[in-house]
Amino acid sequence: MELISKISVEKLNFYYGKIYALKDVSVNIKANQVTAFIGPSGCGKSTFLRCLNRMNDLIPGAKASGEVCFDGMDIYSKDIDLAELRRKVGMVFQKSNPFPKSIFENVAYGLRIQGIIDKTRLEETVEKTLKDAALWDEVKDKLDESAMKLSGGQQQRVCIARALAVEPEVLLMDEPASALDPISTAKIEELILDLKKNYTIVIVTHNMQQAARISNYTGFFFLGELIEFDDTSKIFTNPSNQKTEDYVTGRFG
């Protein structure tokens, strides 16, 4: 079965001031699949992820060239609506970053800024997304309490629920479990496999087992270049590039 490309990246180059962070990256990200990017620290995988919803725009001196098409539309073209793009391409960060607001308000935030004030609709969305994020049973009795009081793993799931609440099409996850204990990590991974049905997921991780467990496709970044991109099984069992093989077999990185 031929899968549809959700995001296609063509010769993407990225600079932080004079630092050349991404070199000629081209890749197709398929809809309703989990795509993982692995590589050593500083290889550009997070930078790449943040190019997909233009989060890098916030960094002074950042400059991108090349093409990133989301549903066939170049997101670096001038007439793109950034807020609209980021609603469709949601993001979960490495460090969980809930707002210092209640759990309810955290999840409802994305809807509120869209001007939705209908209480029933907000309540329904909060309940649904917290269930999707596998957090509902743990927090349903304390929705009015501050999200900052939750554990690290719970906070990260609040952030996932918050991202899901605006009904994105793509979910970018930047090492979403790297700061969590094994049990919370397992929960998040389970969640990602579950979310695949409705979302296209792109995840950056430096945990290779994690990439192997949850992804359909894996890309290996090294020094700003996308060295290899293929089916996850192929990358981990029979990579075509020597560098990829060295990395996945633990010879460096």
């Binding site: 949601g90 970053n97 994305g110 800024i113």
Partner: protein, 303 residues
């Protein structure tokens, strides 16, 4: 052995010296406050704080000055907070961090903080009263209404004086909000303004109020900026519109200390007025601190 004793002596000598310096400040503070309380507390009575002065300020109370001070500080805060906070938002959130324009503004803010307060007074007289005020009168064909010293111009002059305090405190409060929190909001499709309005400002409010508190302390105590711009020697009525002149505690102290017809009779009133000014400044501060802690508690609880 000998050198060790020497080091010890030097060490304790300097410890003693720093302690001595600290004690000097402490002693002076005690003398000032103690002196004011000892001489001032007798005169303070219900009548003193609720009645107007009588007989050339040698008798009666200081209510008009208390009223004027409170009105002045409130107007000043209303004027300075929005402008100061908006400037801080522009500087920290919108402007390019190292552009020439931003640097010029920062340079101006820092210099504004160093300008002597009497210069602000003269500026207020020249700009607000003779230029803006007289301009308004001329434009509307009025008799002298705005083109004279009054509550409004005095409050604006004081607001200018306090602008750097509010800008610096607000910017500090904005800086304290982590990048990750802003990114979270933007990643959900919020615009920059929505992020500032719903995420950044609510978190920065306590810090911004700290700036307001600092400017209250300074505003209530400054005499120089208001002596040309609105404070009156004596008024038989309370100000009830922005174009009225007003009496103010600090200025009242200055007037009684320098221009009293009967020094003997004025002295206790003078002490009482100074004590009232100290207490009032403290009270205004407490009100602001109370509001701030209430907001903090509310933030922890819900939002």
């Amino acid at each position: 052995m000998n050198s060790k004793i020497k080091t010890n002596i030097i060490s304790s000598f300097f410890t003693g010296l720093t302690l001595f310096a600290t004690l000097i400040i402490f002693t002076i503070l005690i003398i000032i406050v103690g002196n004011i309380i000892i001489h001032g507390h007798k005169i303070i009575s219900w009548e003193f704080i609720t009645k107007a002065p009588r007989e050339g300020m040698t008798a009666g109370g200081i209510f008009p000055a208390i009223f004027g001070t409170v009105a002045l500080v409130i107007l000043m805060i209303i004027a300075v907070l929005p402008v100061g906070v908006m400037t801080a938002i522009y500087l920290h959130e919108y402007s390019k961090p190292d552009s020439i324009f931003t640097n010029i503004i920062r340079f101006a803010v820092n210099n504004l903080a160093g300008v002597p307060s009497i210069v602000f007074g003269l500026f207020g007289l020249g700009f607000f009263i003779q230029f803006v005020g007289a301009g308004i009168d001329k434009f509307f064909g009025l008799e002298v209404v705005w083109g004279q010293p009054c509550l409004m111009w005095a409050a604006l002059t004081l607001a200018l004086l306090n602008l750097p305090v509010v800008i610096v405190a607000s910017e500090e409060a904005l800086r304290a909000i982590p990048k990750e929190t802003r990114e979270a909001s933007l990643a959900l499709g919020a615009t920059k303004w929505q992020t500032i309005r719903w995420v950044v400002l609510p978190q920065a409010t306590p810090g911004i109020l700290t700036g307001a508190i600092l400017s209250i302390s300074r505003g209530a105590g400054e005499v120089a900026p208001i002596m040309f711009t609105g404070a009156a020697y004596f008024l038989p009525y309370l100000p009830h519109k922005p174009t009225d002149q007003f009496m103010e505690l600090g200025y009242h102290v200055y007037v009684m200390a320098t221009q009293s017809p009967d020094v003997q009779a004025t002295e206790p009133i003078l002490y009482g007025t100074v004590l009232t000014l100290l207490i009032l400044t403290l009270l205004l501060n407490f009100v602001a601190i109370f509001i701030r802690s209430k907001i903090r508690r509310q933030m922890k609880k819900s939002i």
